[in-house]
Symmetry: C2
Subunit: 308 residues, 2 copies
């Protein structure tokens, strides 16, 4: 392939997906399926995955040549792991800085602040056509074979545009995600990273810490032997990909540390209430938490996701 596009086509763009895993593959499948893109091209290191993407009808074609991939794109979607996404920006942005109309670039990573800092350092400010994004969707499966054109349906995609962004670039990325059936929402970079630290990154750290603490304790065989359904649900996220979560923990370090500290303070208060048998304080905290959690579960059900 590697044909060069001189005029940007935004009504029927060529979408190039860098990294054809679960998220990149699902996005490609959705955009090819709904006709949003003229062509959908995959780039990656592992040719077998890319070939599989063609076989599955997820992409039209692929290339192993990053320069060719960038040249072909109207929209470039960085769908690599979190820390690799920062490296991709370091490789891609310098070669676009002297172009009259570089492609619109977006990404799918779980942390936005580190990518903004990387882009600003490379570009000398936020590149106008770089619109960072994060689809709140996933699966316990991974890889191109798990790609699902319906993965984003009724799920939220957070975009974190900045004042310096080209309005047309923001609108194109918004239209791309809207075409997949997602609800697209704008948010500030710092706010995104705080909210995700609280609702996703912190729970993962807590689940990993709990399972590891129990696994290393003397009674671990008995402990896991007698654990039941509540423990299974509570620890499900500790079965997530360790590399992905190592990357996220490092990429979102400042917000994650704050979230850990907020949680630790609360746990310490609860510990004191248990130690001092403060029956009323315990009941009040547990009741308030149940109220908040029930309300959240009802919200989630109302958004069309499976009930709690």
């Amino acid at each position: 392939m590697a044909e060069s596009v001189s005029e940007r086509d935004t009504s029927s763009p060529t979408v190039v997906v860098l990294g054809l895993g679960l998220i990149g593959g699902s996005l490609a499948a959705a955009l090819r399926g709904n006709g949003f893109c003229r062509r959908c091209i995959g780039w990656g290191h592992r040719e077998a995955s890319l070939q599989r993407g063609v076989e599955l009808g997820i992409i039209d074609s692929y290339t192993l040549d990053l320069e060719a991939a960038v040249d072909a794109a109207d929209i470039l979607v960085i769908a690599t792991p979190t820390l690799v996404a920062a490296q991709m920006l370091e490789r891609i942005l310098p070669r676009l800085q002297d172009r009259a109309q570089p492609p619109v670039i977006t990404d799918v990573a779980s942390v936005k602040g580190n990518l903004q800092r990387t882009a600003e350092a490379v570009w000398g400010g936020m590149p106008p056509r770089l619109v960072l994004g994060h689809p709140i969707a996933g699966s316990e499966r991974s890889g191109v074979d798990a790609a699902d054109a319906g993965l984003f349906l009724n799920h939220r995609v957070i975009l974190t545009p900045v004042p310096g962004n080209d309005a047309s670039a923001v609108e194109l990325v918004r239209a791309m995600w809207a075409s997949t059936g997602a609800e697209v929402i704008d948010m500030g970079v710092a706010e995104h990273d705080r909210v995700l630290a609280a609702t996703s990154h912190l729970p993962h750290v807590l689940a990993y810490a709990l399972v590891d603490a129990l696994a290393q304790s003397a009674a671990s065989a008995d402990i896991f032997r007698f654990a039941a359904g509540g423990f299974r649900d509570f620890t499900r996220i500790a079965s997530s990909d360790p590399v992905m979560w190592r990357d996220i923990a490092i990429a979102n370090r400042p917000a994650l540390l704050q979230a850990i500290d907020l949680f630790s303070d609360h746990l310490l208060e609860l510990r004191a209430a248990i130690d001092q048998q403060q029956s009323d304080a315990l009941l009040e905290t547990f009741s308030r938490a149940k109220g908040a959690r029930d309300a959240f579960a009802a919200q989630l059900a109302a958004r069309g996701q499976r009930p709690a």
Copy 2:
């Protein structure tokens, strides 16, 4: 009813359930359904629940008179909330101490140490016919209308017999639970409370602490708005009954405090690794936790419970 049984019938016993909620009702339904009991009698404070139990065919009859209930029983099952179970022992045991052959007494509470201490204090040693037990089963529903004769099928029931127990009493309680399709396992009282603190009581405290911390934070509306499926699973147990969990936290205080401290130490280590960007240490911990959790999920699936 209130007819008195002079000879203990252990081949087809009269079972009296004190407290006809989810667990008591499900046990009664199972024992009536499988023919284990000659009669199944309910006792409680709320006559409407007991009448409903008769209507549903869960019990043969009921009484509001505790003395009559105790007199009628070959097996007395204390199925009240955790802290009430200790009060029931205080009310029941003194009137049985001068009887030649008191009924076999067992319970279903989530904590065993507090009941053992209460019984020993009242009786002056562990009553030979008191066999403490704990079915590891539950549901998000509660009350007699949620009773399910199949609730214990393929689930574990932990008995905590002591050297002073009548062997025949232990065997009768074991046979009762075995008849429901449960796998009955013996364990020491202290070990039971440690294992349950780790796998059940601690996770509940962590889930309550997390949800309450987030609900009280400034960004709580956004936080719950953007939380997704992983958060739903992780916090499901924070929707549990606050009164029940307040009781359990207080009843199992010593073991729960130890479990909280073990967890807090691990979380502090992980926090330091994130703060210092110790990439290898994070990956090692997350990988070890994933391995333990995957192995646990496989065990649970092999026990015939729904997969992870």
